[in-house]
C-alpha cells in the first residue's frame, strides 16, 4: 500500500530480449510505457529478484515467455497464482524459474494479494533480438489487456526503486 492509501501495482516483464521470443515479457513492458499507472520493471526471472520486486505491492502482473509442446506460438495463458506455481520447469537456463519464484513466494508468504501471470508461448529462443511474428502480435494483445485491466482500476506506482538506475516508471494518468 502506498502512503496515500492507494494500492501499489507493479507489472514485471521477465525475459532476455537477446534470446528472441524470450524477450516477450520485456517487450510488453515497453508497450505499456505511457499507458498505465504502475511501476514497470524488467528482470531475468531469478526467484529472489522477482520476490524482491513484487514485495510490498498489492497487485502484481508478471509477463513471461513459455515453451509448449506442441508449440502454438503467440498463444496467451492467463494464470492464477496456484497454476503458475506448478510451472516449475524454467524456460531459461537459470537454476530456478518463474514457477519456483511463485511457489517460493507462497511458501514464505511473500506474494502480492493479487498476482496474475500472463504467459506467451514462444517458438524461437535462440540468440539475437527480435520476436517471431505471432509472438509480436501476442505482445500487443497482452499489453492492451493489461492496460485495460489497470485502466478499469487505476492505481498509483508502487513508489519504490525499480531495478534500473534511471527508472522509467510510468506515472501518466
Amino acid at each position: 500500500m502506498t502512503h496515500d492509501g492507494v494500492p501499489a501495482t507493479i507489472v514485471i516483464g521477465v525475459g532476455n530480449d537477446l534470446r528472441r521470443d524470450d524477450g516477450a515479457g520485456p517487450a510488453v513492458i515497453e508497450a505499456l510505457r505511457g499507458r498505465v499507472r504502475a511501476t514497470l520493471a524488467v528482470t531475468d526471472g531469478e526467484p529472489a529478484r522477482l520476490i524482491a520486486l513484487w514485495a510490498g505491492a498489492d497487485r502484481a502482473v508478471v509477463v513471461d515467455a513459455v515453451r509448449a509442446d506442441p508449440p502454438r506460438p503467440g498463444r496467451i495463458h492467463d494464470l492464477g497464482v496456484r497454476t503458475a506455481a506448478l510451472a516449475r520447469r524454467p524456460v531459461t537456463g537459470h537454476a530456478l524459474g518463474l514457477g519456483d519464484a511463485v511457489a517460493l513466494g507462497l511458501a514464505v508468504g511473500q506474494v502480492p494479494v493479487r498476482l496474475r501471470v500472463l504467459a506467451i508461448e514462444g517458438i524461437d529462443f535462440g540468440f539475437g533480438p527480435g520476436l517471431t511474428p505471432h509472438v509480436a502480435e501476442a505482445v500487443t494483445v497482452v499489453a492492451d489487456r493489461i492496460a485495460a485491466s489497470l485502466g478499469r482500476d487505476p492505481v498509483r506506482p508502487a513508489g519504490r526503486p525499480s531495478d534500473h538506475l534511471f527508472p522509467k516508471e510510468d506515472r501518466s494518468p
Binding site: L18, T43, D44, E46, P47, A48, R49, I51, A52, R88, G93, H94, A95, L96, D100, A103, L104, A107, V108, G109, Q110, F127, P161, D163, H164, L165, F166
Partner: protein, 431 residues
C-alpha cells in the same frame, strides 16, 4: 535396472545449477571407466563479438555473459583494458569497485547457499520444499540476497548487468549520504550472514577430500578485484602471465574449453581455493566465524564449500561496511583511459573463481583480439576427477542414490555453465 558389474546411470538434466548440460559416468566392474561433464550448449562467441569494438565497450558487452556474476566480467574487463592503456584506477574508485563486487558476492553466494545447495544437506528436493518447513531460514536467505542486490542497485544502477560501470571508473559516483541507508541494510545483513555460518556448520558433510592444486588471487586484502595469482603448489604469477601458466584445450564432450597448468596438472579455482590461500586475509569477524564453524587453515572437502561461501558472505558484508565507513567521494567519477596499441590482462575473483580477460588493442583503440577464461571452464577437469573418485568409493549404492549423490557433488562447485558456454544433463553409465 542396476547391474553390479556393468552399470550405467543417467540423469537427463541436472537440477539447481546455472545453465544446462549433462553428466555421463560409465562403470565396469569396480572400475569407473569414464566420467564426463558434458557441456553441449553452442559456444557463445563473445570473444568474436568483441573484435572491432571500442576499448570502452568490454564492460557492457561481457557483463551480458552472466546474469549472476556480471560485475566479475566488468571488473576483469576494466582491469585488462586499463592495463593495456597504462592506467591505474586507485583510491575511492577502486574501493567503490570493491564495494560493488561485495554486492555480487553476497547475492550470488546467498542464492547458492540457500536456494541451490542447502536442500542437499537437509533432505529436500529443492528450495520451495525447504521453505515450507523452514520459512524463517529461507526468509533470511532472501534478505541476504536482497542486501546484495541493493548494493548492486546503488552502485551499479541495477542488480542485473549493471549500467554504471565504465573503463576508468563509473559514470556516476555516490555521495556519502546515499550510502547511509545501504550501511543500515548491511548491518542487518551482517547478523544474517553470521547466522548463516552457524546454521551451515550444523550440516552433516560426506567424508570426502580431494588433492587438487588450488589457484586463486592473493592480495593485501581478501582477493576480489585484483591481486597476484598463487597456487598451493607454490606457483606465483601475474594476470599478464596467465596464458603462460594456464593452457586451454578442447575435449570432445564439452563446448567449454578445459584448462590445466601448462606442462600438465589440473587445478581448482573458487571459494575453496580462495579461502585456503587467503584465510589470514579475512576480516577478524569472518575469521572468527570460520573458526567457530570448524574450518581449519585449508578446506579440502568440496561438500564444505557451503561453509566457505557462508564465511565469504560474512566477509563481503563486513568489507562493504568498512568501505562505506571510510568512503570519501572521488573528485571525478572516472579517470581518462586514452587508448593505445597494447595488450592488457585482467584477473579478478568472481564468486565461482578466478576470471581472466585479455584484450589486444590496435592504435585506434579497437579490439583486435580477446580472450576470456571463466572459472567454471577452468574447474571442469577437477569436477570430473572428484566425481570419478566419489563414485569409486560408493559403488555399493544403488543407481538412484548414487546418481543423486553425483548431482550433489556437482552442485558443490556452483557451476555456471552459462558462463563456461551455456547449459547441463547427467548420465551415469554402469553398462
Amino acid at each position: 535396472m542396476t547391474h553390479r558389474n556393468d552399470r550405467t546411470l543417467r540423469v537427463g538434466a541436472l537440477a539447481r545449477v546455472e545453465g544446462e548440460g549433462a553428466m555421463y559416468v560409465r562403470v565396469r566392474g569396480r572400475n569407473v571407466e569414464e566420467v564426463r561433464l558434458d557441456i553441449y550448449e553452442p559456444p557463445r562467441f563473445f570473444e568474436a563479438f568483441l573484435r572491432g569494438r571500442a576499448h570502452t565497450e568490454p564492460p557492457d558487452i561481457t557483463a551480458r555473459i552472466c546474469g549472476i556474476c556480471p560485475v566479475a566480467y566488468q571488473m576483469s574487463a576494466c582491469q585488462a583494458v586499463e592495463a593495456a592503456c597504462g592506467v591505474t584506477v586507485d583510491g575511492p574508485l577502486r574501493d567503490l569497485r570493491r564495494l560493488l563486487y561485495c554486492g555480487e558476492w553476497i547475492e550470488s553466494h546467498a542464492l547458492h547457499v540457500y536456494l541451490l545447495h542447502a536442500p542437499d544437506f537437509l533432505g529436500y528436493p529443492g528450495a520451495v520444499e525447504l521453505a515450507r518447513d523452514h520459512r524463517p531460514v529461507v526468509e533470511r536467505g532472501l534478505r541476504l540476497k536482497k542486501a546484495g542486490n541493493t548494493v548492486m542497485e546503488v552502485l551499479g544502477g541495477r542488480a542485473i548487468h549493471p549500467v554504471n560501470v565504465r573503463v576508468g571508473g563509473f559514470y556516476r559516483t555516490p555521495e556519502r549520504t546515499e550510502l547511509v541507508p545501504l550501511a543500515e541494510t548491511l548491518r542487518r545483513a551482517r547478523d544474517d550472514a553470521l547466522a548463516t555460518v552457524e546454521w551451515a556448520a550444523g550440516f552433516e558433510f560426506p567424508d570426502f577430500t580431494h588433492d587438487h592444486e588450488y589457484l586463486a588471487l592473493t592480495a593485501e586484502r581478501y582477493p576480489l578485484e585484483a591481486g597476484t595469482l598463487r597456487s598451493t603448489g607454490g606457483r606465483a604469477f601475474t594476470a599478464a602471465d596467465f596464458e603462460e601458466h594456464v593452457t586451454e584445450h578442447q575435449v570432445p564432450h564439452s563446448t567449454a574449453l578445459h584448462a590445466h597448468f601448462t606442462g600438465g596438472g589440473r587445478y581448482l579455482t573458487g571459494p575453496l581455493a580462495r579461502y585456503s590461500l587467503n584465510r589470514d586475509r579475512l576480516s577478524p569477524l569472518a575469521r572468527e566465524a570460520a573458526d567457530r564453524a570448524g574450518l581449519g587453515p585449508e578446506c579440502r572437502n568440496p561438500f564444505r564449500s557451503i561453509l566457505v561461501r557462508a564465511v565469504e558472505i560474512v566477509y563481503a558484508v563486513d568489507e562493504a561496511l568498512r568501505i562505506i565507513a571510510d568512503y570519501r567521494p572521488p573528485p571525478r567519477p572516472a579517470v581518462p583511459v586514452p587508448p593505445r596499441r597494447a595488450t592488457g590482462h585482467g584477473a579478478t575473483e568472481a564468486p565461482r573463481g578466478t576470471l581472466y580477460h585479455r584484450y589486444d588493442l590496435g592504435p585506434d583503440g579497437l579490439i583486435q583480439a580477446a580472450r576470456i577464461i571463466p572459472p567454471t571452464s577452468q574447474n571442469q577437469a577437477a569436477i570430473e576427477d572428484d566425481l570419478r573418485r566419489f563414485v569409486a568409493d560408493r559403488l555399493h549404492l544403488d543407481d538412484h542414490d548414487l546418481t543423486h549423490r553425483c548431482e550433489q557433488a556437482i552442485r558443490n562447485y556452483d557451476p555456471c555453465i552459462s558462463c563456461s558456454t551455456h547449459f547441463l544433463d547427467l548420465t551415469v553409465d554402469r553398462s
